[in-house]
């Protein structure tokens, strides 16, 4: 098998295009998107290719996480907070040449919130009561309740505007309004984008962009070193970053992501349905050891499911501080002894290495762990959909996703009416102070209920050719926005 891996590395060395003219870029990604329709799939890799490049929404995330105008140049909010009127940019065309107008906006939003919608984030659209076309460049959205976060919701990759003619075929042949269009998709290897000549906004500096899919960390390292890949925005092997740092050809970009990495516990599985057992597991975890041992120091400890760079974040790591003695006492109080738990680990480094460290930490308090390493497909099937697991480690990379705790059928199966009421209240609140208070209460609630073991906020550790400017440092959403990327002379 070593030979196969070496061959893969050798192919990676030989197959890439030569370091060429200064208006093309090759980006490395670890996972290949299963399709290219952000309105019909949950995989982060879809957005990482298409967001802001192929597809655009009414609003969008800027590199710093701010919400800025996208296809809508501006929007007005009515006094009562129920009506949003979006003013669309004129002269926008899809890649197939058809014009983008208010009708397409209505179509896209109605499609996403429809009963039979396959959108992975239907909750984003749940508050929409009606979408009305005022004129070709104006669309009015009526909400069923005031929602201060509506512009934020419309910035998600799942809320991009698609055309009725191409909506069904976007999975393989995406047609969007973005500055790049799909040129070629060599499945299993690469996706090539090229500049859309009729783009409505400022033309990007790059004429061609290639996303290459390299799952093996060693092959990724070799491809970076050989210059086959110009940038690897989320580099899979944190242990090699020191070496890139020491090499003047590269810059190492360390930023924050929206990835709350948690030790998810199956809240309906005995004995994890007992909060004392979950608390025992949580107190057995030494976060700093996991960050150092699995991520080589990259990551910020979290005590709840919320991103530390968010202004509403509160540090609750103290609630589940490392305290093995307390864990043992809690297990004793719960009447649990000789506990064996199964741990399903998906492929990323944080899960595989983190899992081994957590297994050792749980052993300290007398819990035996049976580790099963899984590929993503198997993990999605068995753990995520089938809910057949005790423990698993996964990073939730969607922005502001504390709402998943209000979904009783979500894979960790936290079913708490109090929390669901809290989130319902949050959805109906638009006053910023009140929202902030509710968000803090929600963070506290899930921390005190020990729903999951909250480990750390995933750092975005990327490597890029030192001459590339304009890559996102942080990841306010899953994206590789290439519109502002340039090569330094």
């Amino acid at each position: 098998m070593r030979i196969i891996r070496m061959t893969a590395a050798a192919l990676a060395l030989g197959a890439g295009p030569a370091l060429a003219a200064q208006d093309t870029i090759t980006l490395g990604m670890q996972l290949e998107p299963p399709n290219l329709d952000p309105t019909g799939g949950a995989a982060a890799a879809i957005d990482e290719v298409t967001y802001a490049n192929i597809f655009e929404g009414l609003t969008r995330f800027a590199a710093d996480g701010a919400i800025i105008p996208g296809l809508a140049r501006s929007w007005d909010i009515s006094e009562d907070g129920l009506t949003y009127t979006f003013h669309l940019a004129p002269g926008v065309t899809f890649h197939d040449g058809t014009a983008m107008d208010a009708g397409d906006v209505k179509f896209s939003l109605d499609r996403a919130r429809a009963e039979d919608s396959t959108n992975a984030q239907k909750a984003l659209f749940a508050g929409i009561a009606d979408v009305a076309v005022i004129d070709p460049l104006t669309v009015r959205i009526t909400l069923s309740a005031p929602d201060g976060g509506f512009a934020f919701k419309m910035a998600w990759g799942d809320a991009v505007i698609v055309a009725p003619e191409s909506a069904e075929t976007n999975a393989a042949a995406p047609v969007g309004t973005g500055p790049f269009k799909l040129a070629r998709w060599v499945q299993g290897d690469r996706i090539e984008l090229e500049r859309h000549p009729d783009y409505w906004g400022a033309a990007p500096a790059l004429s061609k962009a290639t996303f290459r899919f390299i799952s093996d960390p060693n092959a990724a390292f070799a491809a970076m070193m050989a210059g086959d890949v110009d940038a690897f925005p989320v580099f899979p092997a944190p242990e090699t970053l020191e070496q890139f740092k020491a090499d003047p050809r590269f810059t190492v970009i360390v930023g924050s992501t929206e990835g709350e990495t948690v030790l998810a516990m199956n809240n309906k599985q005995k004995p994890l349905d007992d909060v004392r057992v979950r608390a025992a597991v949580a107190h057995a975890i030494n976060r700093q050891d996991i960050i150092d041992g699995a991520m080589f120091g990259y990551g910020t400890p979290i005590g709840t499911h919320f991103a530390p760079h968010n202004p509403d974040y509160i540090d609750l790591t103290g609630i589940s501080a490392y305290d093995p003695e307390k864990s043992k006492a809690l297990l004793k109080a719960a009447g649990v002894s000789d506990l064996t738990l199964r741990m399903a680990l998906p492929p990323p480094t944080y899960a595989r290495r983190g899992g081994e460290i957590i297994a050792a930490q749980l052993r300290e308090i007398g819990i035996t762990t049976e580790i099963t390493n899984m590929e993503w497909a198997q993990w999605l099937e068995q753990a995520f959909r089938g809910k057949d697991f005790d423990l698993t480690i996964v990073s939730h990379t969607e922005p502001m996703d504390i709402g998943i705790y209000a979904r009783p059928d979500y894979y960790f199966q936290y079913d708490d009416l109090g929390f669901q009421a809290l989130l319902a209240l949050l959805d109906n609140t638009s006053a910023p102070e009140a929202r902030s208070g509710l968000l803090k209460a929600a963070q506290g609630k899930i921390a005190m209920d020990y729903v999951n073991g909250y480990l750390f906020q995933l750092a975005k550790t990327g490597v890029a050719n030192a001459k590339i400017k304009g890559l996102w440092e942080n990841a306010p959403t899953q994206a590789n926005d290439l519109t502002g990327v340039t090569w330094e002379e």
């Binding site: 060693n218 070496q243 050891d289 150092d292 041992g293 290495r353 460290i357 297994a359 050792a360 390493n373």
Partner: protein
């Protein structure tokens, strides 16, 4: 009888690893199940003779316990091969040319026709990765090897006069196989066993390397190699040491196998003298 040099070298080399594995049951320098993250990637020192890995585990202890995993898997796999393959081979030889012989030997050919490591990966992928499934996967491929060697050796002995004498004396095929054939092909089996044992070590390392062998936290040489891959530039000894262990063990066993063949095979011995 003079012992061949390679037998002595091979026995010492592989004996070292067996000794280390045996010792690990009683004592290891540092417990491998406890991680000490603060001590990760430490270079060799008096405290950690071979340094530590990315979890702060002592590499020497990991190698010792890993030897245990490798030897156990390879030993049981060879056991499966001997237990199933030798009787099959004896039966095929005893009924030479019969339908039974055909079935056994064509069945062997069938298993031989598959690339063994790929089938081993298939087995562990279907039944889930574990040391037990690795043993099974490797063991199944040892069966035809032993069946063939046994049949080949047995056939030539069946033609000898003393076998004829035994048949005249009224012994049936089962007794002849057990009392006369088996003792006379034992040397062949020992040599083959040593070689299969070394192949088993390699196969276990290969399966663990791709994540289909012993699961963490059980230390295994193959997985140590896999874990060390991305750190090969920063801490090369993490990859070199388990690599050396695999090479040393396999080389030792192969030398021993060659030496045993020289020592045990009367024809070879006569040729040399």
């Amino acid at each position: 009888m003079r012992w061949p040099v390679q037998l002595i070298i091979g026995a010492i080399l592989s004996g070292l690893f067996v000794l280390a594995a045996a010792a690990s049951f009683l004592w290891v320098p540092h417990e491998v199940s406890t991680l000490s993250i603060a001590d990760r990637l430490k270079p060799p020192s008096a405290r950690y003779l071979l340094g530590t890995d990315h979890f702060g585990r002592d590499i020497l202890s990991m190698l010792m316990v890993g030897a245990r995993t490798s030897i156990a898997v390879a030993l049981v796999a060879v056991g499966i091969g001997v237990a199933a393959g030798v009787p099959l081979g004896l039966a095929a030889a005893a009924r030479r040319g019969s339908l039974l012989d055909e079935i056994i030997m064509r069945g062997n050919d069938l298993i031989f026709a598959f690339p063994s490591l790929v089938i081993a990966i298939l087995i562990t992928a279907v039944f889930g990765p574990s040391a037990l499934n690795a043993i099974l996967a490797i063991g199944i491929f040892n069966i035809p090897v032993f069946a063939r060697v046994t049949r080949g050796g047995a056939l030539s002995i069946w033609t000898l006069d003393y076998i004829l004498a035994a048949r005249v004396a009224g012994k049936n095929a089962l007794r002849i196989s057990a009392e006369h054939i088996l003792p006379n092909i034992l040397n062949l089996l020992i040599v083959q066993g040593t070689i299969q044992f070394s192949l088993g070590i390699l196969a276990e390392a290969g399966l663990s390397y791709v994540g289909l062998g012993a699961q963490p936290p059980t230390p295994s040489w193959g997985r140590m190699l896999a874990d060390a891959q991305t750190m090969i530039y920063t801490a090369p000894r993490l990859a070199i040491l388990p690599g050396l262990a695999i090479v040393g063990m396999v080389l030792g066993l192969n030398l021993m196998g060659d030496g045993l063949r020289d020592a045990l095979d009367p024809r070879l011995r006569r040729a040399r003298e």
